[in-house]
Amino acid sequence: MKLGVFELTDCGGCALNILFLYEKLFDILEFYEITEFHMASSSRSREKLDVAIVTGTVSTQRDLEVLKDARNRSEYLIALGTCATHGSVQGSVDDTKAAFRRIYGDIRGPTKVFDPRPVVDHVPVDFAIPGCPYNKEELFQVLMELARGVEPVAKDYPVCLECKLNEYECVLLKKGIPCLGPVTAGGCNAQCPALGLGCIGCRGPSMDANIPGMVEVLKNILPEEEISKKLRTFARW
């Protein structure tokens, strides 16, 4: 099977994380030929792809063209990482034009700039793996399932569930630390509560997330404007 990795505007981490699979990367190479991956290879290809992985937000005209090309050339498209699935931190800019002027003055820049939006807002995607960063194991599983012709299933439970399974002390209720675990999609194995810190919501909302309930609990710990900033850091709920 032919695999392509495409980077739009982001921190580079989602593409990099694929290389962090180490020996599992060699397992993937048993099933896939990576024909396009600009961060890792100078080879350029115009081939049809079985699977395209797209990371980052659509923030420029160039990003949109790369995304459309990836969609048109591929059978199966995976939006990888919270930038691609929910917009992540850079997607939370309210007024791109004003922000741009503030930073660059009157200069127009080398290409047209858009409001940073997730890949899923622009093209249909076949599967989305959120996370900033995403869980490498999850990507590995999804690629292996696809190689075997199995449609992968998205995780629909909150981070809280993984925290309970690990028997971590509840940082929100026991320690009074702001934590978005109750409303954030699981799949990260509750990495932040494992450090004794609150979940920052980097995987975006879980299914059936009770946002008003979350806000009520957080009101005892945080001023209201901070609650909304916290909730809107990685996803537009």
Binding site: S41, V89, Y104, I107, G109, P110, Q191, C192, G196
Partner: protein, 412 residues
């Protein structure tokens, strides 16, 4: 006529370049950063200082810990938070881990294919599998250190103003020290490979570093001690990254600048390797940033085991120090793997009201262009256009550019 270099490959982020030819001579070279703007300075505004290092980490995946630590140091300077010596040592350990992770990624997976004549590391596996595996083993140690200190391989949230969320165990430190020591002999091999490169690119005449090896309260440039405000920033119409100059000269930051200006002290193998290759390093050609990184990789492995041993011997004070003040202004200078990184905040009532970030790739924009210009002049006409483009891209790669970082270089 314009010779267009396609979007750079084997670098982080989206950028390309063009060489302007007029009447058969090279007139100009432009590096065009096309990565979309990412607005981090705007995003930090109005946020509680506690949440900001986690947000700033997202600027870059390859050097997230450098961003977290620069952010935390700026906040601690602003709010007068004085952390214990062991907290600083753990942060140093994290930064050395990041240098190990980042340099090994660049040297083994991105730059080595240039030296050995391959399009990528994956196609090198058949004939040079061993060295790729050595590189991956070193890189994995770098990531382990980032995980232990930062909380995750990428974008961890464990580095906090005043200390850490979770402190490492003795077993973790012992494990890191043991692995670091055993990897030195692998890293040594890659030094020889990069010493074989021919001199290319411009000379790093105006090199800049932080005042201590990994951080500092001042910057050192050409024998002078300055603050970053003493540099001159110029926006350019063809790129999302601005250019920086010191007294009219383009600046160079990175491993070559560090090794040149600070040398390598109190280490065994790295010090010996630096002596062996001193002439090449002192020639200042930017292609030898690769060589400097390779020597620094050995240095990092030696430092890591030393710091772990010190921490195991002296013990760790497991605290999160509360701020004395709720407002103030502070700068954090850190040596990211690619060079000087600046975070600067003004904080009022615990919230960020003004914010500025300058990254190493932004500092290096000017000398990147100068390198393309000089090399294009040297090689134009004597090579087919495709080979010329490939050679020019190799020089860009030697800067180890991190383009995602460079696009929010701003003074607000």
């Amino acid at each position: 006529m314009i010779i267009e270099l396609d979007e750079f490959t084997r670098v982080e982020g989206v950028g390309k370049a063009e060489i302007v030819v007029e009447n058969g001579t090279i007139k100009e070279a432009r590096v065009k950063i096309l990565e979309g703007p990412r607005f981090f300075e705007v995003l930090t505004l109005g946020r509680n200082y506690w949440d900001v290092p986690d947000l700033e980490a997202r600027i870059c995946a390859i050097c997230y810990l450098s961003h977290s630590i620069a952010s935390v140091r700026a906040i601690e300077n602003a709010l007068k938070i004085d952390v214990p010596e062991s907290v600083n040592k753990l942060r140093e350990l994290g930064l050395w881990g990041e240098i190990i992770e980042s340099h090994s990624l660049h040297l083994y997976l991105l730059a080595l294919p240039d030296v050995l004549g391959y399009p990528d590391a994956i196609s090198m596996v058949q004939r040079h599998g061993e060295i790729i595996k050595e590189g991956l083993a070193i890189k994995a140690l770098g990531n382990t250190i980032r995980e232990v200190i930062g909380g995750r391989e990428i974008h961890g949230i464990n580095v906090k103003p005043g200390g850490f969320g979770r402190y490492p165990s003795e077993a973790e430190l012992e494990n890191i020290a043991k692995h670091a020591r055993s990897l030195v002999r692998f890293a040594r091999r890659v030094v020889g490979i990069f010493a074989s490169q021919e001199p290319r690119g411009a000379k790093a005449e105006t090199a800049m570093t932080t005042s201590e090896y990994l951080w500092g309260d001042e910057l050192i440039i050409e024998g002078e001690r300055i603050q970053y405000e003493d540099l001159e920033e110029v926006p350019v119409s063809y790129s999302f990254a601005k250019h920086t100059y010191y007294k009219g000269s383009p600046i160079f930051v990175g491993a070559l600048a560090r090794v040149l200006l600070k040398g390598i002290a109190e280490s065994g193998e790295a010090e010996r390797l630096l002596r062996e290759h001193r002439e090449k390093i002192e020639s200042r050609y930017v292609i030898y940033n690769n060589l400097a990184q390779a020597i620094e990789l050995v240095y990092a492995l030696e430092k890591v085991s030393k710091i772990c041993e010190e921490l195991l011997c002296e013990g760790i004070e497991k605290v999160i120090v509360e701020p004395e003040e709720k407002e103030g202004e502070g700068v954090g200078y850190v040596e990211a793997p690619r060079g000087v990184l600046v975070h600067h905040y003004r904080i009022e009532d615990g919230k960020i009201v003004w914010s500025n970030t300058i990254t190493p790739t932004a500092f290096n924009q000017g000398i990147m262009e100068l390198s393309l210009l000089e090399d294009a002049r040297r090689m134009y006409g004597s090579l087919p256009e495709d080979s010329l483009k490939a050679k020019l891209e190799e020089v860009i790669r030697a800067f180890d550019p991190c383009i995602s970082c460079s696009v929010h270089f701003v003074k607000m």
